[in-house]
Every structure is written in structure tokens, then in C-alpha cells.
């Protein structure tokens, strides 16, 4: 069901852990829906010098978190912002259709973490896409 790349990132997750004095933290997902992703960023001179993740979720959610952190490490905030869920899924050599929302979660987690950093710096947050991840308000988990 999963590509070798997904299994590799699931079995050997990159950048798993916590940055205790993170400059920006983003959390997305919902335990009811079975996935929560938390992204920690260290930022120096507009560059992501370190990134870590914690994830509660399926194999695809863990692999998407791991791959997303790899894709943004060492990048400028602008470059990191542009990393799309498609880019995450492609880097993982594809995700099953039902699991695409895991890559969406990764993209949203990065955006949340970057905006958390910007707000802490007194900068206006960038505009996040309308939440297209499964809803939190109505208690359902549809994508």
C-alpha cells in the first residue's frame, strides 16, 4: 500500500523530536480524526536552521511529517512557505488517495509554525489557505 520511500521515512523518521526553545511552533489536526502534527522551528536570519516534529497518526502522517521537515530544513521562510502538500507527496513517491490529507496536514503545519514565528517577531502573519483539512468544528473527519 505504501511506497518504499514512505516506509523508509516511517521506519526511520528524520527530525523527530522537540525543540524546547523553538522560535515557531505549529500544530494541526485533531485527535478525533486520528492525526495531530506539531512542527517546531529554529530560525536565524530568515533561515530555518533546525526543525523537529511530533506526530500522532498513521504511517503516512509520520512519513509526511518527516519528509516535510527535510524539505524545509536550511530553507528561507519564503521558500519553506512554498513547499506544497503535492511536493511532500511527490517526494514520498506518492501517497494512497485516502492518505493525501496527511500531506495537506504537513503543509498546514509548516504554515502554522512559520506564522507563529512571524507573530512572535511582531510581523503580520502570511495568509494561510482556507482550512481544507478535515473539519474541527462539526466533529466530522471528512477531508
Amino acid at each position: 500500500m505504501y511506497s518504499e520511500k514512505v516506509m523508509d521515512h516511517f521506519m526511520n523518521p528524520r527530525n523527530q523530536g522537540e525543540i524546547t526553545d523553538a522560535d515557531g511552533v505549529g500544530e494541526v489536526g485533531n485527535p478525533t480524526c486520528g492525526d495531530i502534527m506539531r512542527i517546531f522551528l529554529s530560525v536565524k536570519e530568515n533561515i530555518i536552521t533546525d526543525v523537529k516534529f511530533q506526530t500522532f497518526g498513521c504511517g503516512a502522517a509520520v512519513a509526511s511529517s518527516s519528509m516535510a521537515t527535510e524539505l524545509i530544513k536550511g530553507k528561507t521562510l519564503e521558500e519553506a512557505w512554498e513547499v506544497s502538500n503535492k511536493a511532500v507527496a511527490e517526494a514520498l513517491e506518492g501517497l494512497p488517495p485516502i492518505k493525501m490529507h496527511c500531506s495537506v496536514l504537513a503543509e498546514e503545519g509548516i504554515h502554522k509554525a512559520i506564522n507563529d514565528y512571524r507573530i512572535k517577531q511582531g510581523l503580520p502573519p502570511w495568509e494561510e489557505k482556507a482550512g481544507h483539512h478535515h473539519g474541527h468544528d462539526d466533529g466530522t473527519c471528512e477531508t
Binding site: C33, G34, I36, M37, T55, C58, I98
Partner: protein, 398 residues
């Protein structure tokens, strides 16, 4: 990894066909290929083989041979039992009662019948997964034509109060169907003693081949045909019989009921050892289902802070076959309806694991599964933000 250990603990999904069963089936694929509906000797031998198997199934559940009808498996038996009786009794009433934790073969068939104008009551279950007979009694109306409650649940293993249900239905003159797919071979069943009118069973759950099952239909029960065509199965279920499969089913059910109590007891002891260890040595773990009124081989536990599919992947990597009620493994986004029905919060349902032991499992398997499971749970908790939050909260309170 050539010499990797592998342990199969998913016997509620399916079982390996018993080698004796395979041996019994083989002639009916090759030399003994006659169509049972034909006239000549070769055909008559096939017919005899089917009737022998029918007697074995009847004996196993306390029925008469003419009350046993072979099908393609549990799903067909369930569809036939519900749709066949509902339409046959439509003039008498249009109300059906079932439980909220049935297998999809019942649940989705009930939903279909609702679209056809029938009204269905889904009885709630208590936290152990049992229906309350008081709920059943008060759900019965003048228009109730059928009650269908599973014998034992496929996910949490809970055994229903079948005898009481049968008694209530008999007193009220309502048909009682039970999906006994998980129970056959695990629990002694006598359809007379239990007042069961229709019973579904599936061969591959008790070391028989896949693609074969049966429906017990008590003599006198009115039921429409479901598969239409030729005159097989006394004109009730059309289609050339799966002779090797039926022979396999007969051989398997005979063997599994012969040693039923001994096998069940051995598996129960093994299951309890593994279950007790999991509950006592892996913190933040809960048992789902009834502690004692459950299938002998069934373990269903939830591990807080982690998700079931990722747990299955780690176990699979260690060569262990198991199952989960997490949505993330099922192709839908909602967790198991059974786990939600017993009152689990969705996030706890997502962290569920089902291990179903069978007759080939050993104490050594237990040791291996426990060790790998403990490692896997710790590993996933180490990456879980929910567990990180829990640890922080705890250290603040110390």
C-alpha cells in the same frame, strides 16, 4: 530478511486451511469433478459428498441436514437471511431489530432494507459490547418480523446473551437470526436449545477453505430465494455447488467441533497470559470488550496517545500479523463503529489493536509479540505530541 520470525495473530480475519481439510478437498478438484446435478456415477459421488458435508454441519450445530444450505460464505448467508426473510414476511410487518455492532454484512444489508421501505432498530450496547434484553423487549412491535444479533463480535469478541434473545423471540413468535461466523468452532452451539431460527457460518474462520459457508434455516421458516437460477440446494440456492469447498467445510467443522472445548480452553489460557501482560506491563492501556464473556482467542486493547495503523506497520515489520479499529487502516476516516458503540472516544478507538490467537499459537509467540508490541508502543509514544503533553502535565503535577 530470510529468517525473520513471523507470528500470525489475526485468526478472526481468517485461518490457514487445515492440512487434513486440504487433503479431503483435493480429489474433488481433480478425479471427482462430476456436477452433482447430473445423473451418472461420477455426479452421484459428488452429490453424496455434499450430503455427507451437510450432515456434518447439521451435527455440529444440532440441526437437521435438510435445514443446512451451502453458500459462498458468511456475507452471502447474512444477506440471504435478512433480505430473504424480510421480503417473505413483508405482509406481516416491516420492522427488523439488530444491534449497533454488527458486521458490515449485516449492517449494510439493514441499510439496504431501510431503502426498500423496512424500518430497522439498531439496539445500543453496554460498555462491554452486550445488548440489553430489556432494550430488545421494548423495541419489539406488532410489526417486528426479524431479530438479527450476532453471536460473538468480530472486533471485541464479546459474546451476546443469545439464549435469552432466542427465548424472547420464540415467545413473541419473531424469527431470530444470528451471525455466528466468529462463534463456530469457538463456542458450542445448539440451535434447538438456543431457539435460533437462522444462523450464518463461514468455513475459513475455522480452518476451512475460503469462499464457502452455510445458512441454517429452521424447517418451516418462510424465506425468499436470494440467488436465482437452477434447482440446487432443494431449489433454494441456485448455482453449481462448490464441491471441494463444501467437502472442506464439512471436514473442518467436524474437526473443530470434536475438540472444541479443549482447544478453546488452551487458547483462552494463552490469550489470558498475553492479555494480562499487556495490561499490566504497558501503561495507559485499556481492554475493549467483556473481560470473560469473549471469544477465547480475542484481545482488543487501546493504547493511549498512539494510532493503530502505525502500530500495525511496526508489528508487520517485525513479522506480526494483527488488526486495528483505527480509521486510518480502513479506507475511511471514521474509526470502528463497534469501538464507538461501546463508548470509546474516537482518539482511543484510533489507538486500538486486535490480536486474535488460534490453535497454532504458542507461548513462544506470546513472548515475541509482547516484546515487539512493547517496543512499538514506546516508539510511537516517543513521537506523539499527545504523549509529550501528558508527560509535561504530569511533571507539573508532581
Amino acid at each position: 530478511m530470510a529468517n525473520q520470525k513471523s507470528v500470525y495473530m489475526d485468526h478472526s480475519a481468517t485461518t490457514a486451511t487445515d492440512p487434513e481439510v486440504v487433503q479431503a478437498m483435493i480429489p474433488w478438484f481433480s478425479n471427482q469433478y462430476g456436477n452433482p446435478s447430473s445423473l451418472y456415477k461420477l455426479a452421484r459421488e459428488s452429490k453424496t459428498a455434499i450430503e455427507n458435508a451437510r450432515s456434518k454441519v447439521a451435527t455440529a450445530i444440532g440441526a437437521k441436514p435438510e435445514e443446512i444450505f451451502f453458500t459462498s460464505g458468511g456475507t452471502e448467508s447474512d444477506n440471504w437471511a435478512l433480505i430473504g426473510t424480510a421480503f417473505a414476511l413483508r405482509k406481516k410487518g416491516n420492522h427488523i431489530i439488530t444491534s449497533g455492532i454488527e458486521h458490515h454484512a449485516i449492517q449494510h444489508t439493514c441499510e439496504y432494507l431501510e431503502k426498500q421501505g423496512f424500518s430497522v432498530t439498531y439496539l445500543p450496547v453496554d460498555e462491554s459490547g452486550k445488548i440489553r434484553t430489556a432494550d430488545l423487549k421494548s423495541a419489539i412491535t406488532d410489526g417486528t418480523i426479524l431479530v438479527s444479533v450476532m453471536f460473538a463480535n468480530n472486533e471485541i469478541g464479546t459474546i451476546q446473551p443469545v439464549k435469552e434473545i432466542g427465548k424472547i423471540c420464540r415467545e413473541k413468535g419473531i424469527l431470530f437470526h444470528t451471525d455466528a461466523v466468529q462463534a463456530i468452532g469457538n463456542i458450542p452451539i445448539d440451535v434447538g436449545d438456543l431457539n435460533i431460527d437462522l444462523l450464518s457460518l463461514s468455513s475459513h474462520k475455522f480452518y476451512g477453505p475460503k469462499g464457502t459457508g452455510a445458512l441454517f434455516i429452521r424447517k418451516g421458516v418462510r424465506i425468499d430465494n436470494y440467488i436465482h437460477g437452477g434447482g440446487q440446494e432443494r431449489r433454494k440456492r441456485a448455482g453449481t455447488e462448490n464441491v471441494p469447498g463444501i467437502v472442506g467445510l464439512g471436514t473442518a467443522i467436524e474437526k473443530v467441533t470434536r475438540n472444541l472445548e479443549d482447544n478453546s480452553n488452551r487458547i483462552r489460557v494463552l490469550r489470558d497470559r498475553l492479555l494480562d501482560r499487556i495490561l499490566s506491563e504497558i501503561p495507559h492501556t485499556r481492554l475493549n470488550g467483556h473481560r470473560t464473556d469473549r471469544l477465547a482467542g480475542n484481545i482488543n486493547v487501546s493504547f493511549e496517545f498512539i494510532e493503530g495503523e502505525s502500530l500495525l506497520l511496526l508489528l508487520d515489520h517485525a513479522g506480526i500479523a494483527a488488526s486495528t479499529g483505527s480509521a486510518c487502516s480502513s479506507g475511511s476516516l471514521e474509526p470502528s463503529h463497534v469501538l464507538l458503540a461501546i463508548g470509546l472516544r474516537a482518539e482511543i478507538a484510533h489507538g486500538s489493536l486486535r490480536l486474535t490467537l488460534g490453535r497454532e499459537n504458542t507461548e513462544e509467540d506470546n513472548e515475541y509479540v509482547f516484546a515487539e508490541l512493547k517496543k512499538a508502543v514506546e516508539r510511537l509514544r516517543a513521537m506523539s505530541p499527545l504523549y509529550a503533553d501528558y508527560l509535561k502535565k504530569r511533571s507539573r503535577h508532581v
